[in-house]
Amino acid sequence: MDKDQILGTVSSIVAEICGVEKDAVNENSTVGDFPAWDSVGHLSILSKVEETYDISFEPEEMMEIEDVKDIVEAVYNILQK
């Protein structure tokens, strides 16, 4: 799976949880960009990403994730292992 595919899926997840159009989400979208992307929204997004890819982020990895780009990178790295 390449990063563009992951970006598409992650953007859909962010859009769904934040209640915005997918077009409004890009790789630079970050915590606070949408009202629903607060600390709880952030956890919900990461939880849904974990479920979608059947992976589990380490707490340390979670702390490094701030925007869509970070999520894509983290997913990609885990899937490469």
């Binding site: 607060d38 600390s39 709880v40 956890l43 919900s44 939880s47 974990e50 380490e58 707490p59 979670m62």
Partner: protein, 248 residues
């Protein structure tokens, strides 16, 4: 139909006096249980089998030592691998400590803080993503009146419980945009092996300061957790509930 049918309840320190009563109470109401304890034992295995056969519920036991950060991490990984949404997390595990400051070893201070606070924080942080999954749930923390009253000999244990109280209040605000409630239970001395570990002198002095002249029973404490975990407490958030029978 149990009140907690289709709900998953995770209880740390589940092999202790209050932990076992809590496990039974939630099992009786149909909850799926994730139980953690420091180590397996024939007695705990019998307890788990009893819960499964008597209440026909799923029980998933996990064993890890709360003094070991890496062991906690591995244990949490295994819990998350169950892929279950956790509805109720009860941070119940803890170890006692009672000594006036000149007789307090720094190694004990570190150990008590590790088990009673740092481990609870690590567990809560790691499980947050599975608690927030569908936007409902609650976190209940084991505090103590020792963390509020500041009695002699409690500079360490009391400080760990005061930390749990603060974590409760902060987390209740941080999770405010969700429907996740965070509360704490602050028992007085309770009739459990934990109290026995405090020694007869401590038990006698606690009974003396109790308005009702006795220790709490584990059931009386578990009832409060159970209420706070239920929908009956749907508007109680960020609170610390004393269960001490009144103090003179």
């Amino acid at each position: 139909m149990g009140k907690f049918r289709d709900k998953v309840v995770c209880i740390t320190g589940s092999d202790g006096g209050i932990g076992r009563v809590l496990s039974k109470k939630f099992a009786a109401e149909g909850a799926t249980l994730i139980l953690t304890s420091i180590a397996d034992s024939p007695s705990f295995e019998d307890f788990v089998s009893e819960l499964k056969s008597e209440y026909k519920v799923e029980v998933y036991p996990f064993f890890f030592d709360l003094t070991d950060e890496e062991a906690i991490k591995e244990g949490l990984k295994a819990i998350k691998a169950l892929k279950l949404k956790i509805h109720v997390l009860i941070n119940n595990a803890g170890i006692p400590h009672l000594a006036i400051l000149p007789f307090t070893r720094m190694s004990d201070v570190r150990k008590v803080f590790q088990v009673n606070y740092f481990a609870q924080l690590q567990i809560t942080q790691s499980l947050l993503s599975v608690i927030v999954k569908d936007g409902t749930g609650c976190i209940l923390n084991a505090a103590s009146i020792a963390g509020i009253d500041g009695d002699i000999g409690n500079s360490v244990y009391g400080a760990t419980k005061a930390s749990m109280i603060l974590m409760t209040k902060v987390l209740s605000k941080e999770l405010a945009s969700s429907k996740i409630r965070v509360n704490a239970v602050a028992p007085g001395l309770t009739s459990t092996p934990f109290a026995d570990a405090m020694g007869d002198k401590a038990k006698a002095s606690m009974e003396q300061i109790s308005s009702m002249g006795r220790m709490a029973t584990p059931d009386e404490i578990a009832n409060t957790y159970f209420f706070l975990a239920s929908d009956d407490a749907s508007f109680i958030n960020g609170q610390v509930i004393r269960v001490d029978g009144g103090v003179k």
